[in-house]
């Protein structure tokens, strides 16, 4: 505990150098800027900004990333409230009440409770992260390959079956992701798989290319395929983005409850921010004294889910940092950012790269604070961005995404891969297949194979090792519960909506 605290203080020292602080500020600004743009969620925002960090030193780059991470989420909630076009699943609930509030002329209060709630939740959750991640890393050192494999399979199941409208389609996305993850040389034997004789494909395909292509190109192609472009109206903010004492009084409990729901559900992979935000909404609705306001713009319905969303995002960083297992698209991009500097998150990270990881955690605090200071006053500037005509927006997103795919290796091969994956993203959207499981499949597929082989090497080929020992058994027991969960979830959803 005390040791962690001193490491965290060292982290602040790293983050507080003028250069790093400047990168933090830049990250906050760029993150919000990209996050505000309609249709861009945090994962794509970070993916698009990844090339910018390529030439910066790892510590500064990751500090900038931390700032982009919170900035993009904050920007996303602004868009949901003012435009009612949530960029990612976590903001869907925010749009539900927030947009109604904005329509009723209470945009300022909605934005304020979202911003302050995100700050409160982000700060508490980052604190929990600072102490939880090293603890988890220490425990993780004892996990055997078979245990890791069990964890990955659990992540597959949660991400694959909890997201989207149908479980089979989640598994479809996962399976395609696993195939994409196979491409390239086998790690141990060097045998080539699905490379079609292309030299470029030997190293596999870049995760960033997949993310940028499937989110940006896939989305733009899908929008192009529709005849009616829904032109949402940007709602005006009357007065300042601020809230009254009465609003504050109604908000602070939802913030704390949202944090309490969001963080743990991020740590145990519950498949993105959809479940925690929905749960928080249900809880606030059940506990609120102003039940009749729900559906017409209840501030609790913005405060709780926004806090849950932010706390969830910080919670997802715990298994990402401590185990190297990302369970959301956003965490996957952050993992890629680490890997692009040849740093592998996992149990050893806190020992091998303490400066970087503690600098990152400290930056999460700083970035969160900067956002609070920066965004409420700057809100009118962000609103201007919402008024960019959609044809320029799509043109800009596409051109920038293509640049991101190219600049990684300066190769047109990556661009061609991006085109193919963009087309896949279009098909996924057209047929209602969720995107995130694909990304998790691409990233965790190769890891699953690695641990699978290691486990069987230890046991000299005896498959029983995969379920031997308490830890794998425990995880597989949770897995069975997760498979049952959607039925319970469906029941709850019905219950909450009907009420």
């Amino acid at each position: 505990m005390a040791n962690n605290l001193s490491m965290l203080l060292d982290g602040f020292q790293t983050a507080f150098t003028p250069t790093n602080l400047m990168f933090g500020l830049l990250g906050t600004f760029l993150g919000t800027l990209v996050g505000v743009l309609p249709g861009i969620g945090p994962a794509l925002a970070i993916g698009l900004l990844l090339p910018i960090t390529l030439t910066v030193n790892p510590t500064s780059a990751l500090i900038m990333f931390a700032a982009v991470f919170y900035g993009a989420m904050y920007g996303g909630s602004t868009t949901s409230i003012l435009l009612n076009t949530p960029g990612e699943s976590g903001s869907v609930i925010t749009a539900l009440e927030g947009n109604k509030m904005a329509k009723a002329g209470r945009a300022g209060a909605a934005l304020a409770t979202a911003a302050i709630g995100s700050f409160v939740a982000g700060t508490i959750a980052t604190l929990l992260l600072a102490f939880g991640a090293p603890a988890m890393a220490e425990l993780a050192l004892t996990i055997q390959p078979a245990g890791y494999l069990a964890l990955i399979i659990l992540a597959f199941a949660t991400v694959g079956t909890l997201l989207g409208t149908s479980r089979i389609r989640g598994l479809v996305a996962l399976s395609v992701g696993l195939v994409l993850g196979l491409i390239g040389a086998d790690l141990q034997s060097g045998a080539l798989r699905l490379t079609f004789g292309s030299l470029n494909a030997i190293d596999g395909i870049e995760t960033v290319t997949v993310i940028v292509a499937i989110f940006a190109l896939g989305e733009v192609l899908y929008l192009a395929s529709r005849h009616t472009l829904v032109a949402s109206q940007v709602l005006a903010i009357n007065g300042r983005a601020w809230m009254s004492w009465a609003d504050f009084h109604r908000s602070w409990r939802p913030w704390l409850r949202g944090t309490a729901i969001g963080f743990p559900l991020g740590v145990i992979p519950a498949g993105g921010s959809e479940v925690p935000t929905f749960l928080s909404y249900g809880v606030e609705k059940a506990l609120s004294k102003n039940k009749n306001e729900f559906g017409k713009g209840a501030i609790e319905g913005v405060a709780g889910p926004e806090a849950a969303n932010n706390a969830n995002a910080a919670g997802v960083l715990v298994p990402m940092l401590a185990l190297g297992l990302p369970t959301s698209a956003t965490a996957a991009v952050v993992l890629v950012a680490f890997q692009s500097f040849n740093i592998q998150p996992g149990p050893m990270l806190f020992q091998t790269n303490p400066e970087i990881v503690w600098g990152l955690i400290a930056s999460l605090f700083i970035g969160n604070f900067l956002l609070l200071v920066l965004n409420l006053p700057l809100i009118r500037f962000w609103v201007l961005l919402l008024k960019i005509p959609s044809h320029y927006l799509y043109a800009g997103i596409t051109t920038f995404a293509l640049l991101g795919a190219y600049a990684l290796n300066n190769s047109t091969f990556d661009l061609k891969v991006a085109l193919a994956i963009g087309l896949l993203g279009f098909l996924f959207r057209r047929f209602g297949v969720p995107i995130t499981p694909l990304i998790i499949g691409v990233i965790l597929g190769p890891l699953a194979e690695l641990y699978f082989k290691r486990a069987l090497q230890i046991s000299q080929g005896d498959w029983h090792i995969l379920i031997a020992g308490g830890f794998p058994k425990f995880i597989y027991a949770i897995l069975i519960m997760v498979i049952m969960a959607p039925f319970i979830w469906k029941f709850m959803k019905k219950f909450v909506v009907k009420k």
Binding site: L182, V220, S225, F400, L419, R429
Partner: protein, 170 residues
């Protein structure tokens, strides 16, 4: 159920599910053809790909059954009861052409030209009818991105046709 008239959308979805099934078969075929350089590991590099291929085919098959039983996918942003609109081939064609042109032009004509073409084409595809204004915006966008990346971030982008004018590209 199965023999009732099925819409274009459902046909498309069935084709998607079918290709998924075939993808699994293809992965299995590719794996069986794999060149294994002196294999001394206990687990063959083929085991995992075979497992993935089986999983893909299984999921593809399950999706086919799922669709035939009437559980059609809902396009993103629609609610399940919305009518499904036919594809807007015209816009799709213009937008994809702009993207493909970007890829082709990038190393021939350089980043700036490729970005201008792509940006302008997509704006046009999405219904903008102010070609001159769009051209201006495309040029400004391309120049800002080009200089921000090459000068500010030291990322190398092909200067192509404009090599003489803007110097230090590839």
């Amino acid at each position: 159920m199965i023999f009732q008239k099925i819409s274009k959308q459902v046909k498309g979805e069935l084709a998607f599910a079918g290709s998924l099934f075939l993808l699994g078969v293809f992965v299995a075929w590719d794996t069986s053809k794999m060149d294994i350089p002196q294999d001394n590991s206990i687990i063959s590099p083929q085991t995992f790909p075979y497992m993935v291929s089986a999983f893909v085919s299984l999921v593809g098959f399950a999706l086919i059954i799922h669709i035939l039983r009437g559980n059609h996918g809902t396009p993103e942003g629609n609610s399940p009861t919305d009518p499904i609109e036919p594809l807007n081939f015209k816009t799709m064609l213009i937008v994809s052409t702009a993207i493909v042109l970007h890829v082709i032009l990038l190393e021939i004509a350089g980043y700036i030209v490729a970005a201008i073409v792509c940006f302008w084409g997509i704006a046009y595809g999405f219904g903008s009818r102010k070609p001159i204004k769009d051209l201006g915006i495309s040029v400004v966008f391309a120049l800002i991105v080009y200089f921000a990346f090459t000068q500010g971030l030291n990322v190398n982008l092909p200067s192509g046709l404009l090599r003489g004018i803007f110097g230090n590209g590839k």
